[in-house]
């Protein structure tokens, strides 16, 4: 059997699987430019609505606040495609490395 040598080599090695989320959480390596949860910087936004026009999943709704037009994000619909981040001229939208974004209530998942 060609696999015998490989199998013997692994008898004394540790398992390759990390026991996330119960242990080994710190061993999960996430690169810095991971496409995770959206973060929005209101002070940089100029209300051009380009993000609204490129979003494929209707995550973005343009609303008005005291400073003018700005996006509101329905994060439960987000597919993390990063097209909004790519098109924003002032870098107001950033996809962070936060990968744990499950929730139980859709109303709690709106980013204002």
């Amino acid at each position: 059997m060609a696999m015998q040598r490989e199998l013997l080599r692994h008898i004394f090695k540790k398992a390759a699987t990390l026991r996330y989320p119960f242990k080994d959480k710190e061993k999960v390596h996430i690169p810095s430019d991971f496409r995770g949860k959206i973060a929005f910087y209101r002070d940089r936004c100029i209300g051009c609505s380009m993000c609204f026009r490129v979003c494929p999943a209707e995550v973005i709704e343009m609303i008005e606040d005291e400073k003018g037009k700005r996006p509101m994000f329905y994060l439960d619909r987000c597919t993390h495609c990063a097209q909004c981040e790519g098109v924003c001229p002032t870098k107001s939208i950033e996809l962070t490395s936060q990968y744990e974004s499950a929730g139980t209530d859709r109303a709690q998942m709106i980013l204002k």
Partner: protein, 394 residues
């Protein structure tokens, strides 16, 4: 004579994804097969007509999770052909790099699945552990392990820094060593040889007649690869060999895929060494000119062809996708039909189906068996069929 059949599925909580086969059997031999697809039809072509060209990129990416790079390259290329503009050379090289990394990922995944279907779960576990290396490389390059979102109309969205290139090269060295080990296993491991040699035969004439594509076609001895015949992205400059096999059976398909993985590793190295400098994208206006365009790429599963028609607005008038597995379906039915000395056994059905690397959203299905001579008509789930395949003696 009363017949009794219980149908489990195709929609059932226990099944991964639905698809339906009907087999007419005579004892252990399969006489004929019939396929019914469409259980996972999502209406993507219609949906593409009501979204803009930019909004369509993530939609097209989700046609297939594993071949998402092939579909997005085909789409963005197609729209760029409508504009009649060339994208920067550096973007084409980056597209080729991620495409070949995706191919390595897909073929390693397939080797694991093939091992799983014949009951060789050890091979599945080891190959999928090595697949983590390529998924980590893709994550460093694009921000996600599987769904890459690297393409845009006019180029790519992220660049490759020299540090990233060094990390990719290190990962490729590991992958090359592991793939050469799997090459030895495929050629030498008696379990694999016994379950794949002489199984699922599709002769050269049958493959051409039924217009098979991809590794299924190349394992029947036909030297046809879109990257060589109809080059796109950087494939006109990156040297590689088209891998074929003359055995026309399942073993040939295993061999073709393992060697293609090694070729892909070499291509990524060449691209990293010869990466031209320059911009990574050009800005194109929202509305392409009127016209129509056709674009093909070599997805891991075969020839993927897209057609677009533009009426001058910012939404496509018609977008048509023909994913590679549909091209292999007619050949698959041929492979499952016993004729002359070539007998197809029920126990070989799972591995023959897995042999074309089906990507109709990762098929998992029920199989309905009809045995007219003994008036039996029954349905097995996938797990029952796999269990039968592993435990029956040959």
């Amino acid at each position: 004579m009363p017949e009794f059949s219980v149908i489990v599925g195709p929609q059932h909580p226990a099944l991964k994804e639905p698809e339906s086969f009907t087999f007419w059997v005579d004892g252990e031999d399969v006489v004929r097969a019939q396929v019914r697809i469409g259980y996972a039809h999502r209406g993507i072509e219609k949906a593409a007509e009501s979204r803009t060209y930019i909004q369509n990129i993530p939609l097209i990416e989700r046609i297939c999770g594993i071949c998402n790079v092939a579909h997005t390259i085909c789409y963005t290329q197609n729209v760029e052909y409508l504009y009649g503009r060339e994208i920067p050379r550096r973007a084409e090289y980056i597209r080729t790099i991620i495409e070949e990394l995706n191919r390595i990922h897909s073929h390693l995944l397939w080797v694991g699945i093939a091992g799983h279907e014949i009951g060789f779960d050890t091979l599945l576990m080891y190959v999928w552990r090595d697949r983590e290396v390529v998924m980590d490389l893709i994550e460093e390059m694009t921000g996600n392990r599987v769904s890459t979102a690297l393409m845009t109309v006019g180029g790519v969205t992220r660049d490759i820094t020299p540090e990233l290139a060094t990390r990719i090269r290190k990962g490729l060295d590991i992958l090359e060593e592991r793939t050469e080990y799997y090459e030895k296993i495929a050629a030498g491991e008696s379990t694999i040889l016994a379950r794949t040699k002489g199984i699922g035969i599709l002769t050269r004439d049958e493959a051409m007649k039924h217009c098979a594509v991809g590794p299924t076609l190349r394992a029947s001895g036909i030297k046809s690869d879109i990257r060589a015949d109809d080059p796109y992205a950087a494939h006109d400059e990156v040297p590689f060999d088209v891998i074929t096999s003359d055995t026309c059976d399942l073993f040939g398909r295993v061999v073709v895929r393992v060697y293609e993985t090694i070729e892909s590793i070499k291509q990524v190295r060449y691209c990293l060494d010869h990466l031209p400098s320059g911009p990574i994208r050009i800005r194109l206006p929202n509305t392409p000119p009127r016209g129509e365009s056709l674009s093909r790429v070599e997805a891991p599963r075969g020839e993927d062809i897209h057609y677009v028609r533009s009426d001058g607005s910012d939404r496509p008038a018609r977008y048509k996708v023909r994913a590679p597995t549909l091209g292999n379906l007619a050949g698959l039915v041929e492979m499952l039909t016993s004729k002359g000395d070539y007998k197809v056994h029920v126990a070989d059905i799972p591995i023959i189906l897995a042999g074309i690397d089906p990507c109709m959203c990762c098929m998992d299905r029920t199989a309905r068996f009809i045995e007219p001579s003994r008036s039996r008509d029954w349905v097995w789930t996938w797990d029952q069929l796999k269990k039968y395949g592993r435990e029956s003696e040959r």
